[in-house]
């Protein structure tokens, strides 16, 4: 079985991936709504609770129609990073889905794929910069460079792949115009 193209592994995996992406984005929108509401009002209720686990204060946001909770450190930095994390993962899933759909339809060296790779790589670099900014400015005593560094690395790797796809597209155009 082929990996890329029609009736390939990627072609059939795009459907479960689509369902997961929609599910994650819908639940993220719900949690982001609760986070914004909590940041504005500062109030706790049945959907937003605070728990003490050991010496850590944890804030919990309840997902709809289930007992699952989204947890974050109960501090401005913790909540902001959780909010930004949800947005960044949703963005990455969305653009990955777009690229998978293009690859599944045999459109490998196309301008759409180049644009999606560029947007995804820039997204990773921007997400890393914002995480670093939040980490260093909100609470200066507590910071961790691991996540932004991985994001930055992923961004540069994707930028490199984008350049390869771009070169492939140029070659494809030349081949198509060879008569």
């Amino acid at each position: 079985m082929r990996i890329i193209g029609k009736n390939s592994i990627l072609y059939w995996s795009k459907y479960p991936f689509l369902v997961c992406t929609i599910g994650f984005m819908a639940s993220s929108a719900w949690i982001c709504g609760l986070i914004v509401l909590q940041l504005i009002t500062g109030k706790f209720h049945s959907l937003v609770t605070v728990e003490n686990i050991n010496e850590y204060k944890i804030i919990q946001f309840k997902y709809p129609f289930s007992q699952m909770v989204f947890t974050a450190e109960n501090s401005t930095e913790g909540i902001l990073l959780a909010f930004w994390g949800l947005i960044s993962v949703s963005f990455v899933l969305l653009y990955s889905l777009r690229i998978i759909r293009q690859f599944a339809n045999d459109h490998i060296f196309s301008s759409k794929v180049v644009t999606d790779f560029k947007t995804l790589s820039m997204g990773f670099i921007i997400f890393a910069s914002v995480i670093l900014f939040i980490d260093l400015t909100v609470e200066r005593s507590n910071y961790d460079f691991t996540l932004p560094l991985w994001y930055m690395l992923a961004g540069f790797v994707l930028l490199f792949i984008k350049e390869i796809v771009d070169q492939g597209k140029i070659l494809q155009d030349q081949t198509d115009l060879t008569i």
Binding site: D173, Q174, L177, T178, I179
Partner: protein, 69 residues
């Protein structure tokens, strides 16, 4: 445009239509149009050979070089 394809001139001389030529040399009309308008990036030797056979001419009759201003 540096290289000009004189396919239209040869077609007129041979009183042949584009569609007929495309069928004879085995390419689509869209590709023949790309050749005629000079948008092609490269030309296969086999295509040139087929063009010469179909139009009963030499490669020099089909291709012309013009200096860009």
């Amino acid at each position: 445009m540096a290289i000009i394809f004189n396919i239209d001139v040869m077609l007129a001389r041979r009183k042949m239509q584009s569609q007929e030529l495309a069928e004879k040399i085995g390419i689509t009309q869209a590709n023949l149009s790309i050749l005629k308008t000079g948008k092609a990036k490269a030309l296969k030797i086999t295509t040139l050979q087929a063009l010469c056979e179909a139009l009963e001419c030499q490669p020099a009759d089909l291709l012309e070089y013009r200096k860009d201003n």
